[in-house]
Symmetry: C2
Subunit: 399 residues, 2 copies
């Protein structure tokens, strides 16, 4: 009856966008938090519950939500604020201290997964180019989930955590360079100058921020703050730096979340606790969209065929083991316990693996099935990580 | 040269959405904050600078940005977080105390602007239905800007502020009912039952939340908090309530920001300071998108014709005066100074006037020119309010 009235109907149409928006956000946020609580009550990591909320709401199960541009944008912002907040708690000097070990972890964590991916595809009679792409897709670490687990346990200052974070940054740069090489080979034209430029930009950007970011900010922030009139001037500077560094990172070829992490780290010495609090509000609100978004993109139907399911299983196991062993070996100096921790933290591939597979598809060298397998590997490694980290860090607690 | 390399080009394409997103957000946030500082340095209200940033970036001047779905969504969220945070600082008992005065302010602030709008359109040879719509468009107060000014000055506990907030809530309900009546008349069929239902829902929702919201939350929040395991449980409850009440408000026919305000107010007695801090982060980050969004929708080109410009000027002056006088008169008991304050706080029409005009257009009874005039009136009353409030509250300071 009410729906027939012209005024309300039209008013709803006029504010219909807002209504849909709020409904979607309430669904995502509410479902994430409910499943978080359920999982925590069952002594399972709450984060897995939040990802599962996405799988349940998504096209594969209840079909209440599709991944939209708006949800993807919120998810991306969520991941950036997460890494920014993590960056705020890490000093670049700490990261530089772990330098050698982190480099070894990153390099072995690139070589071993790449080799295993290449070998599996080759044994499965994939073309050499296809094998290169599967190898490359297994390389890049997506540190978002690990950061969330470590941060929620208050373990960001643990030695393993620092190595994981530093190695993930190096890994992202190495992954970019590897991807550039692989793509050039796929197109049959390796242009050395361009490859060097790609590598140079990515390395230059990262090294510059890690080396000089903190010092520069320690000088710039107080000065800018003096001249600004409004409240929360520090926070405004921080937000501009976060968005700007995310953009610069993309321009330099690495992931926006790496830029966000570096922005946070550059500010870690120079901003007050107020900035931490204000940023926490944003990440608390937005991170569920990141986690649900992971689940939302997971399509159960792709694995109806037993053949695909089998290869997906093999790739998944190889993806987990190759990082556990590769990255773990890199940290052998720190003892067996920390080797396991570092390895577990580097397992998640997240969206980076998917970008690689997408690139291969758009070049026409990666078939649909391999794409679906890579997507599932990326998601499942992300979902496997929190329980692995829980086991690895059992008994440890921060703060 | 770099753009020619396949890997980087494709990678950018793959992450192109994120890049665009960050660029837009950096542009909006950065420009808003720069112009905020410039205006504050010139001893003008910074908020006007932020709105002007939108006008400058928008299609009318630099044409760097168009209003997109994503920006509109952020703007809407910004307005909601703003009103939610304001609600957190207001007790419903305070609002109920101002009851009679606020009701008088709201009613006179509806009757006088409506009469003036109707008379102007009639003198301008508009049809009776057109006159009804212009009248209705001049009625609804959009309290976002006023709330921002009062909150930034720490004046939310001032007696005038409480009356403005209470009157704005009542005004929104009255405006909805008036709009329902006017639309029914425009369609030539006044269905009393439907009108009563519309009115009943809007009034029922608002009264119920104001009366029982705080008490209910004071009981519910501690209990829910006890059972929740994660950090920041209060904040999560607050976010669910914010989104849910915004949605309910839309369903009841009033604006989402009114729902957000009521959600904040319902929680004002029961949540800790931590929730304030976390919410501040979200509003600090999102409010610039609300302010820039106002400017972005302002189209200078509509006023190329002197005829339209003249009527726009007349409507604007009438819009400002009718609220200043109407709402001011309602607060006569509080002395001349507070009459001016209350009147000035009620001047902004914001998006509500635009919704009315849009409705009239979609019913085919409001011509394009009148629509443009209403849009400019809505925006300019919003831009006029901060300096007016600055004058009205000169010498007062909160906290």
């Amino acid at each position: 009856m009410i729906l027939e009235t012209p005024p309300i109907g039209l008013l709803l149409a006029a504010s219909g966008e807002t209504g849909k928006l709020l409904f979607t956000m309430l669904l995502v946020f509410g479902a994430a938090k409910v499943l978080y609580e359920v999982f925590e009550a069952l002594r399972q990591p709450g984060i897995v519950g939040e990802i599962l909320a996405g799988v349940l709401l998504g096209p594969g199960v209840l079909n209440l939500l599709q991944p939209t541009d708006f949800l993807n944008a919120l998810a991306e912002l969520g991941a950036m604020f997460l890494l920014f907040r993590v960056g705020l708690e890490v000093r670049s000097s700490d990261l530089l201290e772990t330098g050698k070990t982190a480099l070894l972890v990153a390099v072995l964590g690139v070589v071993i997964p790449f080799t295993m991916g290449f070998a599996i595809s080759d044994l499965w009679h994939g073309s050499p180019v296809e094998a290169l792409f599967l190898g490359a897709a297994m390389v890049a670490t997506s540190v978002g989930i690990t950061a969330q687990v470590l941060s929620s346990k208050g373990l960001l200052n643990h030695v393993s955590s620092k190595i994981i974070l530093a190695a993930a940054v190096i890994d992202d740069v190495l992954g970019l360079i590897l991807l550039a090489v692989v793509s050039s080979m796929a197109k049959g034209e390796v242009r050395l100058m361009d490859l060097l430029l790609t590598a140079g930009m990515a390395i230059g950007f990262t090294v510059a921020v890690v080396r000089w970011g903190s010092k520069t900010m320690a000088r710039v922030v107080p000065r800018v703050q003096e001249t600004l009139k409004g409240d929360n001037a520090e926070f405004k500077i921080a937000m501009v730096l976060l968005l700007g560094m995310g953009l610069l990172a993309i321009e330099a070829g690495v992931a926006a979340i790496i830029g966000a992490f570096l922005a946070g780290m550059a500010l870690s010495n120079s901003v007050s606790h107020r900035v931490h609090d204000l940023t926490s509000g944003l990440s608390e609100f937005l991170v569920p969209f990141f986690l649900v978004g992971i689940g939302l993109n997971f399509n159960l139907k792709a694995f109806a065929e037993p053949d695909v399911l089998l290869m997906a299983g093999v790739v998944l196991v190889a993806a987990v083991i190759s990082k556990l062993v590769g990255c773990g070996l890199g940290a052998w100096q720190l003892g067996r316990r920390n080797m396991f921790r570092v390895g577990a933290g580097m397992v998640p591939r997240g969206e980076v693996g998917m970008v690689v597979a997408q690139l291969g598809m758009s070049l026409g060298v990666v078939p649909d099935t391999v794409y679906a397998i890579v997507v599932s590997m990326s998601l499942l490694t992300t979902m496997v990580a929190p329980p692995l980290l829980n086991i690895a860090f059992r008994g440890e607690s921060g703060d």
